[in-house]
Symmetry: D2
Subunit: 368 residues, 4 copies
């Protein structure tokens, strides 16, 4: 299994970067949900390429066609399937270099995994392009969560050495997330956005690329999501997040920094705020024992610099099994972080919805 | 689902810290595997409590009884099940404070998840004690992997502010892993081990606790493990690793630091070493596009300081819904990092075995 | 995977007929359910061997020990695990004949599946003894279903050529199911019970065995259980039912006989009875399009004659790969149908509970 | 979950009878398999409607478009996805009667399951039309199995009261299966085919429908497929087979008739034929203890008469909750058995391939 995911919502993803189409089959949605299709298109557009000089010049409108599961403007409850045609492919770019493994890419490992039969053009099924259907599924999940009062948002915490402020982990405002959503390069501190853009363009000019960190927040989550032992919120989220190409690290709450704190500082002391249970700090990122506490779920995701760069690199010829050099032609993002923002939000929303449905299973049984 | 895991090897975990027994049912092992039971006991002992002043004084021999699946000194291929009796429980410690949510623990979230019905004594099913059966399963996985030439090992990268050296990611020697395995507090630089011990004991004296980072290595892995899109090696490993209590972060290869590198530095350039494909660097931690490359798989795991501390903390009374103070009595590790070492190795070995079995599914089909 | 089952309730079964213990880990139960342990013991006793001359003389009390998941007389919501020690084993019976494949048994196929490493004594993990933990799990499921108003029951439809009456598929009375439950050989027509007993004893005297059919009913099921396409009620039930050793056929409603009816007869015409939707007939066994209609779910299960018989049979020596003869010594049921009654009821209850939890996932979402 | 299936090969099905398209995503195929597309089209055509007066007059070419997973004339190993456009829909037929539950159909139960939001036109996702993508997936499975030497075939055992001969369960010839495959109404005895056609046409003329039984054979299966306890060959096959609309029963080997045999007759005595293990009879249908023995796997499937009939029927108005009458307009098969033949073969092939991949997981481990 590779492209099938989920316990309650089941995703089945298909497609290659330069094949006929990409798409997703979403199985297990609640029926009777009206979708805001315009809102979905906005999410798709946040991810779409070719919008800006910080991004690849490959232009794809990413227009989705709903093939099933939506009837009379509502989800039917049976599989909701979409297809997105690949239109702006330049497969010839890949013919020249297909014998050479692009460093940092899945060319060599994909070849090993599939015994040389995978579609190598544009990375095939490994391509970041496959995140477009994920954004579609996530846009639906966001809408359902939103009507349950749960909101998912994020900002770019860093690009290269440029660091934005952090979310206040004990209270992330819905309004802040709204502001961030419409920004092209979403930072809390707009000055940092300007600097980040410069950093990206400088790398681009030099035929190079940069990485960064995205910080995500799930606000107003219900307490009690997740299950010990193997289905902690962190387990579920990280499984999905590490599916996204380019992710190399994830940390919840204080993350790696919590290892330098004493327990007396790291523990989030608790108090009652009216009827609600709160913590003075949120070093655990809203998750204790793998279960959501009701505080904001906060985590950060590390994305590596784009592997496709113009500079000459040492590699191997996979057919002749000998050393070689490669200069990658083609249209690439000098920094995938910006376009990864809506993808990681989508991935997060899908996981939280899956966990919410898991929680509902246990509801309403008569207990003597 | 909560305590069931796996695609190919299926784990089903049971037990509470102060209940009758804990154990695991391992379904899907290859048949006909002779196990070195002494070696398994050594792994269990690495994790067992009460061995040292840096650890809890709860003494548990963690003697396992094999209930099924092992016959004539070989795995039968049907479920291999073990049980470990809980013997040295002091449940009364928990009666006094059961109304109060221990900060940093799952008391409050577990109560939400299970509507107040979970066994609160010693953390119940959330307890770190549940990692004992994981170590058992991992010890089996290690033995099977070892006969396939794959070795899993680790060292403590840091405790609090004290940092050990790192693995050389391009070549981790099996001999080094052997050395580390027999150390009580496994560091590459023994001086750091001494300092770490001091750090732990100092925290203990002050009624406090410390956290740390463990660095793991899988050496000599077969290239081609893992699958896009949702079953990357990172996805699988992180899902399992975040099941272990106290884990707050994971990063592969350079991890968060890769976000500060340019692509031209971050990409691991490739070359042929005889028949073998190698990379000059290993910033990607042996995983490209979610698939193992054959280079060592390297990752680091952040563990928070033990949540149970003697110091007085602000919390809530979960029954009266009002603010309260708690001083935790009981026997606790001032630092869980040391005992987490064999647990994380075990978890890693189980995942790699599961991925190896996944790979084998596709073998041997006739291809025209 | 072999001994792991379930989408919502997860079962993990372990043990061999002559090993240390058998048992089951039940993951995903709702928390806070008080169990009637006496009622569970009654169900276990219905299945237990050695109670009667129509059954094997192997005496096993089948006393279960709850290892986890039950605290303060309620389910905790974390895995509920039990163990049953094997006590009355006579493994030597199997030593003499272990080289010979018993016809009708899994000796040869099990050997193929596990490359000769499975525990052959008493059938090992293939043994009907493994149904004891299923009965335990089913007894819990029955209690939970019962508090939701759903009742599972059955009768023996036939033993050899002796046929009992059938359930009236449009209305099965709860009272009838109660009567059946306490009968040693549960038939609707008690005369048939007498004849069936004779048939069994006659086969026994002749060193032979007989089979039969069990008819099951789920009464008062909620409409809407099951999902197209692959998770029809029939799919779920049949998957579980065919796990029970000796089952060779299953049919729902009119089953095979419906193939001889015209559509105009086979279709169950509908009407309103007050607020409730009913059908005049119930040829479809309460399931339409794979989904429960609210009418009783009715199905029949074919059980083959016990494979273990005293008569001499032609077989092979699996070690020498040559023809051989076998006379099976040991204690066996001349007819497994009687003891299969509580097993099939248990299996049915587990499936219905799993489907009910599936249904609950979709509840309560806000629909605009 | 509803439309997602499989342990090793994962199917994800989508579409409604009158929606934009139907299709399937097949995840987990071995890479590098060349497909005979012409052969797939032949299988699709065997199922396609509108070919004959015994079938519905709805004409659908069922032309599939491969969207992904096939590159350079070979499977890539990543998801193979197809789409089939719905072209010849006459949705207006359903508008008139959409308030009325068609007896024998999923109209009422689907409404309950999806709270009234499912696409009712032509049965929506419940439609037999969804079996077209199953046939596609099965045609691939057949080709892969065929290169492993395993062949799946079938014949119509009965239509109404007309009975064909049975397969000789101890030896089904590949040649016989080839003959059957090209017959329009595949029977062993061609006279029966003529009579069956008459029976179907008579029912059609009378505005009625008939059902029947299909007997399937898997010849030359490897011994050792399947796993106790819950993944018996029968469990896997029945789960999939009962997903096919209209199936009401399944029996393996002698099936229900075995319940009337003594054990001494029912047991299949064994002998060596050269190196091979054979049984004199095959009453168990090639499966013992849930595991394939290497003898032909034989089973029969009961299909009910088409629920859509022209005759007036009593039903309910689902909106007004009152009694009503319905006369079903539209184009329907008077007998689904004929078109179900390739569907059941396809379903069988998929399951056997999934089991074969399961078997391969355990191969090649070093055993000391």
């Amino acid at each position: 299994m590779s492209s099938t995911w989920g316990n309650n919502i089941k995703l089945s993803l298909f497609g290659e970067s330069h094949g006929g189409a990409i798409g997703i089959n979403i199985d297990g949605l609640p029926s009777g949900i009206s979708l805001n299709l315009e809102e979905i298109k906005i999410e798709m557009k946040r991810r779409a390429p070719g919008q800006d000089k910080t991004a690849t010049s490959r232009k794809e409108k990413d227009e989705f066609e709903i093939l099933s599961g939506y009837f009379n403007d509502k989800t039917t409850g049976t599989p909701l399937s979409i297809m997105i045609r690949n239109t702006n492919t330049q497969s010839k770019d890949y013919d020249k270099t297909k014998d050479f493994a692009r460093p940092g890419h899945a060319d060599f490992t994909g070849r090993k995994r599939y015994l040389g039969n995978n579609d190598y053009r544009g990375g095939g099924h490994f391509s970041g392009r496959l995140t477009a259907p994920i954004v579609f599924a996530g846009a639906i999940a966001k809408q359902i969560l939103s009507s349950e009062g749960v909101i998912v948002g994020s900002h770019i915490k860093s690009i290269g050495e440029i660091e934005d402020n952090s979310f206040d982990p004990t209270k992330v405002s819905p309004r802040l997330l709204e502001f961030l959503k419409v920004k092209k390069l979403p930072t809390i501190d707009d000055n940092k956005s300007v600097e980040m853009e410069k950093t990206i363009l400088r790398a681009k000019e030099e035929g190079d690329s940069v990485g960064g960190v995205i910080e995500l927040a799930v606000i107003n989550p219900m307490a009690g999501l997740g299950s010990p032992f193997f289905d902690s919120v962190e387990s579920h989220l990280s499984h999905m997040i590490f599916s996204i190409p380019g992710v190399k690290g994830i940390e919840f709450g204080k993350g790696f920094d919590i290892t330098k704190m004493r327990g007396s500082k790291a523990n989030d002391e608790m108090y009652m705020e009216g009827e609600e249970v709160k913590t003075y700090t949120n070093n655990n990122g809203g998750i204790l024992g793998g279960i959501s506490s009701g505080m904001p779920i906060i985590f950060r995701v590390a994305l590596k610099p784009t592997a496709s760069i113009a500079k000459s690199q040492r590699t191997i010829d996979m057919f002749k099994n000998k050393d070689a050099k490669i200069e990658i032609v083609g249209r690439h993002d000098p920094c995938i972080v910006v376009r990864a923002v809506p993808v990681l939000e989508a991935a997060t929303a899908i996981v939280i919805l899956d966990l919410l449905m898991e929680m509902k299973k246990y509801d309403g049984f008569k207990r003597a």
